[in-house]
């Protein structure tokens, strides 16, 4: 059986997999990292989004063996060891950017890639277009967009809306 060696959330793993094993199956079933969800399993909904070398990808549409040597970050790899949330996670909580939460891991991972690729900040339109690959059936997206705008401010060192409101 093929072997794949990859780094997940900073830890190197060598795992035996079938060639047809998807990355999301490796993460969930072999490494028990179940924060990455499987929604549609057809690369449409985005619940399985993780980062590979910093780029957001759908873990349901890549073979585990294609990730040889890759550096993968999942939702479990965002918070600090002491439990402090990533600014994007914090903003999702603050702005009530979820209801059932099923899409949230993928939303957060896509949102972080989006912010990182726009160092000069993002318009609302850019945020909405940047979420094309993530479906949410609860929120209507409004609070997700607000959360991402707020997190972008924090991640990029601008005064956030919350900070401005507190003044």
């Amino acid at each position: 059986m093929p072997q794949v060696t990859l780094t997940v959330n900073g830890t190197k793993h060598t795992v035996e997999v079938e060639a047809r094993t998807l990355l999301v199956e490796l993460l969930r079933e072999k490494l028990r990292l179940t924060g990455t969800h499987v929604g549609c399993d057809t690369s449409q909904c985005g619940a399985c989004v993780v980062h590979m070398g910093g780029d957001s990808i759908k873990a349901c549409t890549i073979l585990a063996v294609q990730c040889e040597g890759a550096d993968i970050t999942t939702i479990e790899g965002l918070a600090k060891p002491d439990g402090t949330l990533h600014p994007m996670q914090e903003a999702f909580r603050e702005y009530h950017a979820l209801q059932c939460g099923f899409c949230t891991p993928g939303m957060v991972m896509s949102a972080i890639d989006l912010v990182n690729k726009h160092p000069g900040g993002l318009s609302e339109q850019e945020i909405r277009e940047g979420l094309e690959g993530n479906l949410c059936r609860c929120t209507g997206y409004h609070n997700i967009v607000k959360a991402i705008a707020a997190a972008a401010d924090v991640m990029q060192g601008r005064r956030s809306e919350l900070a401005r409101a507190a003044e």
Partner: protein
């Protein structure tokens, strides 16, 4: 998904050998089309040959009046390449509209070209720009390469290695996306350059991407949106499905052509 053997060659020569040895092996690059097809068991390859480890298939460079795009160049890389943005901004913009961010981070120009999905964006652009597709054994002009829905001039086991694109004077693209799937309902790429005035259409044709020659003649005489406004496409040549009738797509092609010319300036 049925299981298969997995190979990751590091040279084109090795990949060609693997594919030649087994006619039921399939090449994979980004996998954005092949993997969904395998999940649906539409395809049962004995082996998957992963091209992503072949360094010679990477990179974008300008060689005189031509942009050379390595087959493994991802849509995101096309969209953000300084060379492509400077030389053919319409192509970079087109790449930024393909699928979603995650598809653009994996899918490649070579893969899209070799697959020739009727709703894929690139075939229309390469027809309009008069591009040449380089494979492991020959060069094929876009007109000869794209042969209808999911059909190309590639032989079994032949690999697209690069796409050579003459830099145009002007080019523009416009498409109507299906509001749910975001696939092209009708997309039109117009270009004026070394290959003349050419118009490529995706998403709409009953037989895949095609050139709208009546529009080319009109634009050669008068490069303006008005020149194509009165040119009607024949619905008999268009694809009709649950997302839109052939008549609707025929109408869209004219509208998108006007917008594409306006976008080209």
């Amino acid at each position: 998904m049925y299981d298969f053997a997995y190979h990751k060659p590091s040279s084109v020569a090795d990949a060609v050998k693997l594919l030649a040895a087994d006619p039921d092996a399939r090449a994979i690059s980004g996998g954005m089309t092949l993997l969904p097809a395998l999940k649906l068991r539409l395809n049962k390859p004995t082996a998957v040959v992963d091209l992503s480890g072949i360094a010679e298939l990477r990179g974008v460079k300008r060689e005189g009046g031509t942009i050379v795009v390595g087959a493994l160049t991802k849509h995101y890389e096309v969209a953000t390449s300084a060379e492509i943005k400077a030389a053919i901004p319409a192509l970079a913009w087109m790449a930024s509209t393909i699928g979603d961010t995650q598809v653009r981070n994996r899918g490649t120009m070579g893969g899209s070209v070799a697959n020739n999905d009727p709703s894929a964006d690139y075939p229309a652009a390469l027809l309009a720009l008069g591009a040449t597709i380089q494979t492991d054994k020959r060069k094929i002009g876009a007109d000869d390469f794209f042969q209808g829905m999911f059909a190309t001039a590639l032989d079994t086991g032949e690999i697209v290695t690069a796409i050579h694109i003459p830099v145009p004077e002007k080019a523009g693209y416009a498409k109507m996306k299906n509001p749910a799937s975001r696939y092209s309902m009708a997309g039109v790429f117009v270009a004026r350059g070394p290959a003349g005035v050419r118009v490529g259409v995706n998403g709409a044709g009953a037989n895949g991407a095609f050139r709208a020659t009546a529009m080319e003649a009109a634009l050669a005489a008068n490069w303006s949106p008005d020149a194509v406004a009165s040119i009607k496409m024949d619905p008999a040549m268009m694809n009709g499905d649950i997302h839109g009738s052939a008549e609707y797509r025929a109408h869209l092609v004219t509208v998108m052509a006007k917008r594409a010319v306006a976008n080209a300036g």
